[in-house]
Amino acid sequence: MFKYLINLILFVLPFVLYLLLEIYIDPFDILRNETRPALVLLKKHISYKMNNQLYKLQKFSIDPSEAIILGDSRAARLSSEYYSSLSGLKTANMAYGGGSLLEIIDTFWYIAKYDSLKQVVIALNLGLYNQEKNINRVPEAIEIKNSLISYVTSTYCIKSTALIGWSLLSSSKIQLNRPNLNRDEFWEYQLNVTANNDYRNYVYPKNMARELKAISNFCIDRDIDLVFLIPPTHVDLQAKIQYYNLIQEEIAFKNDLAYLGDVYDFDYPNSITENSLNYVDPYHFNDSIARNIIHELVTSDSGFARVTHFKRTDSAKIN
């Protein structure tokens, strides 16, 4: 038994040393707020890409903001700095790549605890407003954030530590998730596979709609501006809604939002959505369109968006 335990301890020793390195680097700033400039940059580059939920939630809890942007990868393209410069509100972009409505809801309630909010922008399309789209990585991120053991044993912390460590040692820039296909290929993939995943088994999200109603009520009670943004998708993708016979569902979706907060709807055939040059792929607009969207949201200077202003009396209409 003694020999066994000694061998076991010797075997585990390198992992204990690695654990100490994880604690030293602390890639997601869970243990302390990073002040070393080189590490700040590396963490932004590496840890953020490893797990944007964990990275963003931790950043927010260290330094809460007055305005937040919630949504998926489309909303993630909206610059919080630009939003902040126009609105004068300290802004955090809390949208995640591949996000879902469940993640939006959980992130909102997590952030609401900080009592700092004045404005909330929730970016949603029909594809997200779907009971079947039920991925939710936020509880995992919160669990990792709250437990040191979960943190140091998480794959995100292990990998980020190694990449940051390697980057420091070798002074080389680490490339993560480089795209390995051209624009046309990816365009087709998004239309055929991703859209299929979004719309094939569409189910009206009854429970999530109720959660959004609770968020709306919460915002009304605390005088927080709640704005719904329907990001512009390319007309090729808009056509998929008809293809999957979901026109009525889309109307219901937009009606629901109108009973919850102000709605800025960019997702209809217009000169933005008809021009593929405005897009990286049918889902994702480019940076210049992102700036236009922010401008319209903040200044209420309606250019492309169809705006529906919310009246408090409307809120009673959704159950």
Binding site: Y4, P14, R178, N196
Partner: protein, 487 residues
């Protein structure tokens, strides 16, 4: 509690230390510790599930004792029937109620009548199919006078709930496992080291092979109409690796963990994808279930000692029930029927036991003939797995229709460029290749990392272990629940 979770990595060393350093003087206390540990392990999913396993254990413990008290055959038979009714009743209710209710309503709709049978929102208790069969083996063995009942309630309850194999097997026979609870266990350095190696290999199979394959399999199966025939074919092959890595990985961890506590569980997988025919495959795949059906159903039905028609009936009964055991879906039943159809010609021609030795025994490479046999068996198995993986029979047929068309002969470079993030697919191909090679080289052994100390010096062995650990941490796929937990 999942084997691959942080909770388990804390739980296991604590129980190990308490087992060997605190309770080692008294076997009864050791068994009590294992029972408490097993209930904590099981209750971690949902503590309400514990009531079922306690109820099932209590029934079979008492029936076992009662069986030994009576000599009258009718009384003994009645007790056995009670045990079977209770255990299968629980299993039937929790696992199959909705299936039968819906199938019944569907059957009515064929005649233009609608029948409104509301399905219940029943949560399937984890591992119920495994421990139900395990406790049944106890009462059946006592009834058949192959085993004496135990008077030790703690050791019996610990036998039913033994945490390493509780939720996904191997389905142990009372004759093998129960006596081990009654005998003093001694720590064996070699067994414990080998146990750790087996756990390591099981984790590699589950986290690297199965979970990484799952990334592709989930996408391909849920979007089958978007992909070429060749991609769908690869999706089927990847699922074959996924389910093997997942299930046999679990068994490896279970067996390895048991060895840390001085227990020996039965082998559940014996390199099944190197089988030369379906008969051999079924002697190597999920051995604890197929031998359970053989011992407790096939042989009592007359096995092969009956007329031709009954022989065929028995084969179909075994395979269909084996499919149905996996879940309440027609896909599993068709999977069972397909395997029966594969097996039947070998059986009728009395060629099902041709290959009882290891393939290419004493040689590094298989012969061309053996290679063709292996590939053919693997292809047949993969074909059946498509039904097993699909959500419905129509989905499976659509998937198969997608494979067998002109796009089968396209090279699916674009599909996999789209499915893969970065060079992920390249890593997966490398790992699959290494995995098959290591399993091939070790196919004569208990598991793929056993007996390494005979051929490899310590420093190289440790390098291999570290390499596997690093691969597990670095390349593990998105965590998926063990597939067999749902059964």
């Amino acid at each position: 509690m999942q084997f691959s979770s942080i909770e388990f990595s804390i739980f296991l060393p604590i129980i190990f230390i308490l087992y060997w350093f605190v309770t080692n003087k008294n076997i009864k206390i050791q068994n009590a510790l294992l029972l408490v540990a097993s209930y904590i392990f099981y209750g971690w999913w949902d503590w309400r599930f514990l009531s079922l396993i306690i109820f099932s254990s209590l029934i079979d413990y008492n029936i076992g004792l009662a069986l030994s008290r009576y000599d009258e055959q009718w009384k003994r038979k009645l007790l056995l029937q009670l045990s079977i009714a209770v255990n299968l009743g629980l299993l039937g209710f929790f696992k199959y109620f909705n299936f039968f209710a819906e199938s019944f309503a569907d059957a009515f709709s064929l005649f233009g009548k609608s029948l409104d049978i509301s399905s219940l929102n029943i949560i399937l208790p984890v591992g119920i199919s495994f421990y139900t069969f395990q406790t049944l083996s106890y009462t059946i063995d006592i009834y058949q006078r192959k085993l004496a009942p135990t008077n030790d309630i703690i050791s019996f309850f610990a036998f039913v709930s033994f945490f390493p194999q509780l939720v996904a097997g191997p389905i142990e026979r009372a004759r093998n496992l129960l006596p081990q609870f009654n005998n003093r266990r001694t720590f064996s350095y070699e067994a414990a080291v080998d146990g750790l190696r087996q756990i390591l290999w099981g984790l590699f199979k589950k986290l690297v092979i199965a979970d990484n394959c799952a990334n592709y399999v989930n996408n391909i199966f849920s979007n089958s109409s978007s992909y070429s025939g060749s991609t769908l074919l690869i999706g089927g092959v990847l699922f074959a690796f996924q389910i093997y890595g997942d299930f046999s990985g679990y068994s490896d961890i279970a067996i390895g963990t048991s060895r840390l506590f001085g227990f020996n569980l039965m082998k559940n997988f014996s390199f099944p994808y190197f089988s030369r025919d379906i008969g051999e495959f079924w002697r190597r795949w999920h051995i604890s279930l197929s031998t359970w059906f053989r011992d407790y159903l096939y042989i009592p039905l007359g096995g092969s000692m009956v007329g031709m028609v009954k022989k065929i009936r028995n084969i179909f009964i075994i395979f269909i029930l084996s499919g149905f055991w996996h879940g309440a879906n027609w896909t599993f039943i068709i999977w069972g029927i397909l395997n029966a159809i594969y097996f039947l010609p070998l059986f009728l021609l009395k060629r099902n036991r041709r290959h009882t030795n290891t393939v290419a025994e004493g040689r590094l490479l298989p012969s061309i003939k053996e290679l063709i046999q292996i590939i053919t068996t693997f292809s047949l198995t993969t074909f059946a797995w498509i039904f097993f993986r699909s959500d419905s029979v129509s989905e499976a047929l659509k998937y198969l229709g997608g494979i067998f068309n002109s796009t089968l002969f396209t090279i699916p470079i674009l599909d996999f460029k789209l499915l893969s993030v970065g060079a992920h697919i390249i890593y997966l191909i490398i790992f699959l290749f290494l995995f098959v090679m290591i399993e091939w080289i070790q196919r004569d052994n208990e598991h793929a990392l056993s007996s390494l100390e005979i051929y490899i010096p310590k420093i190289l062995r440790w390098t291999i272990y570290y390499g596997i650990v690093v691969i597990i941490f670095w390349f593990r796929g998105n965590q998926q629940e063990f597939i067999y937990f749902q059964f």
